[in-house]
């Protein structure tokens, strides 16, 4: 069957406004969801799930968050790592204080804490843009990272200074802690990511999303449409940090299973996610997944994939190789295709719609 919308007519505005107006796209999405929800946990082994799928999903969430700010609203941030940390610590404190409330609830609720902190550090965005905003958010990164280490209350005064993830259950099954299987953690994470992607898609396709893009593309004209710059930018900071916070909580509770903030929520993480946004495509949700998939799976591919086909490189070399490949790609994409993998995908689809008769 050809990929095109021939014979599919949208007869109402509601149909025409659907996020995936072409039937083939909807079928594709259903297939992907089916594979992700049934295929992967059924046929994927624990190693694949915990070192490929779980990192991919966590990073996708964080990348969507930063994309809302940078791709959709045009505001740069180098504080994503720290905002993720706020989510992780909030979730940790909340589940320690109220262990009987379901952990999934706390993971989602922790987003509100990072949203509040994100808005606070977003306040300068009314006055400063570009490089200066990058520096402001960098200051946020370092300040918050300092808090993560210097305020022992945040990690319950534990001697190691690390977050310890305790066992929490859903319907009796452990979903966090040492007993939680990779499969269960993956499924919980998948649920959160699918739900939050749906929400993000709704927001960017409505009034608020259009206001973000208007501010990004031409802020003076946006103001003349009655769009107030500060509330619009702050909303972007809030929603973006919400996603980062939930991603951070997921990272700690469903992936790492505990750890020290300095190792996880540092400036490298901020850059890592910025690279995923750029590679995937600024202002694209699909691109966020592509960028996250690409960059998060590279280390695993180099470390385990290459040896599997007979090319033996050490762990350290694999790591260096990752940096080099990502670095080179970022430069290439910034110069040649600023809209990233998502744009390449779109071009392919446009070609497909005409194929095999390109005229």
């Amino acid at each position: 069957m050809f990929y095109r919308e021939n014979g599919q007519f949208n007869t109402t505005y509601a149909e025409d406004m659907a996020v995936f107006p072409i039937r083939q796209d909807r079928i594709g999405l259903a297939l992907i969801l089916g594979v992700a929800a049934i295929g992967v946990p059924l046929f994927g082994n624990s190693f694949f799930i915990s070192s490929v799928m779980i990192p991919f999903l966590v990073y996708s969430l964080a990348t969507i968050g930063l994309n809302i700010l940078t791709g959709y609203t045009g505001l740069i941030s180098l504080g994503t790592g720290a905002f993720m940390g706020v989510g992780a610590f909030a979730c940790f404190k909340l589940t320690t204080a109220f262990p009987n409330v379901n952990i999934i609830f706390w993971i989602l609720a922790s987003g509100f804490f990072s949203a509040a902190i994100g808005m606070l550090f977003g306040l300068p965005s009314l006055r400063v843009k570009g490089f200066y905003l990058a520096v402001t958010t960098l200051a946020a990164q370092f300040f918050l990272q300092w808090c993560f280490i210097r305020i022992p209350w945040l990690y319950n005064d534990s001697a190691s200074g690390a977050i310890e993830v305790a066992r929490r259950t859903l319907f009796g099954f452990p979903i966090t802690g040492a007993q939680a299987s990779a499969q269960t953690r993956y499924l919980v994470l998948l649920g959160i990511v699918v739900f939050m992607t749906w929400i993000a898609s709704n927001i960017v396709h409505g009034r608020i999303g259009r206001s973000w893009m208007a501010v990004r593309d031409m802020d003076i004209a946006a103001e003349l449409m009655g769009i107030r710059l500060l509330p619009t930018k702050l909303t972007a900071f809030a929603v973006s940090s919400f996603y980062a916070g939930v991603a951070g909580a997921c990272m700690m509770f469903l992936w790492y299973g505990g750890g020290e903030a300095n190792d996880v929520f540092n400036i490298n993480q901020s850059f890592n996610i910025l690279f995923m946004v750029i590679l995937g495509g600024l202002g694209s949700l699909v691109g966020s997944f592509m960028g996250a998939a690409f960059i998060s799976s590279l280390p695993t591919i180099f470390k385990f994939g290459l040896p599997a086909i007979g090319i033996n490189i050490g762990g350290a070399t694999a790591e260096h190789l990752t940096f080099m490949v990502v670095g080179a790609l970022i430069v290439i994409f910034l110069i040649a295709e600023p809209h990233g993998l998502a744009r390449l995908w779109q071009i392919t689809k446009e070609k497909l719609r005409l194929w095999p008769f390109p005229h």
Partner: protein, 276 residues
């Protein structure tokens, strides 16, 4: 060139109902604006009446764009009083001007480049849309109903401006003439009472100018929108406008009907470049 005559000739099936020009809607008294040492506007007074098409003309650098920027709140004049719809105005942000019913287009198209024609026009509906983040996040129920309601308005504007074929095209890819048209659509989507147009026909060919003139006249005629426009094409200005104010070096040198302005010696001198 007589654009309007052409349009009327093409379109004379439509009876031309007598237009009604009402009371003073916008009044500027002794407005002065300077940037450091540059005096962009010097002691200018004029008014715009409800329902009229008012042109602002003058050589480059005369202060026309600055005048629009003062009216919609981008610049705050150092001196002078602005009265809009009977209320004296203090320094305000452009979004306040927008909420009071002032919309505009820009001399250099200022569209949202990364968005489609439809989304640009939908953005013009922002002020009329009320549903908050919660409903937007669900995109169902009231938020969807609101979206559909405003989509219908956007589609009417798209039909009126004859841009249905580029509805889903990112505006960055459109030719200049169409971009100007989309920008007019976006301004119309805010349902303005006062529409400011900064050189809406600059860089257009004859056919595009005729289309644009027709749209401006129809907007003014059918919706009763008051229009203040800056334009260099004298043929267009003389045909479209009810009254013309002429600026030169930031000063008002003439104000009146097209016939009066055309006969004014100071205007003739300014345009022929007689030494000041």
């Amino acid at each position: 060139m007589n654009v309007v005559a052409d349009i009327i000739a093409l379109d004379n099936a439509q009876p031309t109902a007598p237009r009604r020009i009402g009371e003073v809607m916008l009044k500027l008294d002794n407005v002065s604006l300077s940037f450091g040492g540059v005096k962009a506007i010097r002691d200018v007074s004029f008014d715009v009446r409800r329902g009229e098409i008012r042109a602002i003309i003058g050589p480059n650098g005369a202060g026309k764009t600055s005048m629009l920027n003062v009216i919609n709140g981008f610049y705050h004049p150092q001196q002078g009083v602005i009265t809009f719809k009977g209320e004296q105005r203090s320094a305000m942000r452009p979004y306040v001007a927008a909420s009071q019913g002032i919309a505009r287009t820009f001399q250099n198209v200022a569209l949202f480049k990364g968005m489609s024609t439809l989304d640009n026009i939908m953005t013009g509906r922002t002020m009329k849309m009320k549903r908050g983040l919660f409903w937007q996040a669900l995109r169902h129920g009231p938020a969807m109903a609101e979206e559909i309601e405003h989509r219908a308005v956007a589609e009417r504007i798209i039909d009126f401006l004859e841009i249905a074929h580029i509805r889903k095209t990112p505006v960055g890819r459109l030719p200049y003439g169409l971009q100007k048209r989309v920008e007019l659509g976006r301004a119309l989507a805010t349902e303005p009472e006062l529409l400011l147009l900064d050189e809406p026909m600059a860089g257009m060919n004859l056919e595009e100018k005729q289309d644009m003139s027709r749209f401006i006249l129809t907007v003014n005629d059918t919706f009763g929108t008051t229009i203040a426009l800056i334009e260099h094409d004298m043929g267009v200005v003389m045909d479209l406008s009810d009254r013309i104010v002429v600026l030169d070096y930031g000063q008002k040198i003439a104000d009146g009907t097209p016939a009066e302005v055309k006969a004014d010696q100071k205007v003739i001198d300014a345009y022929l470049g007689v030494a000041h």
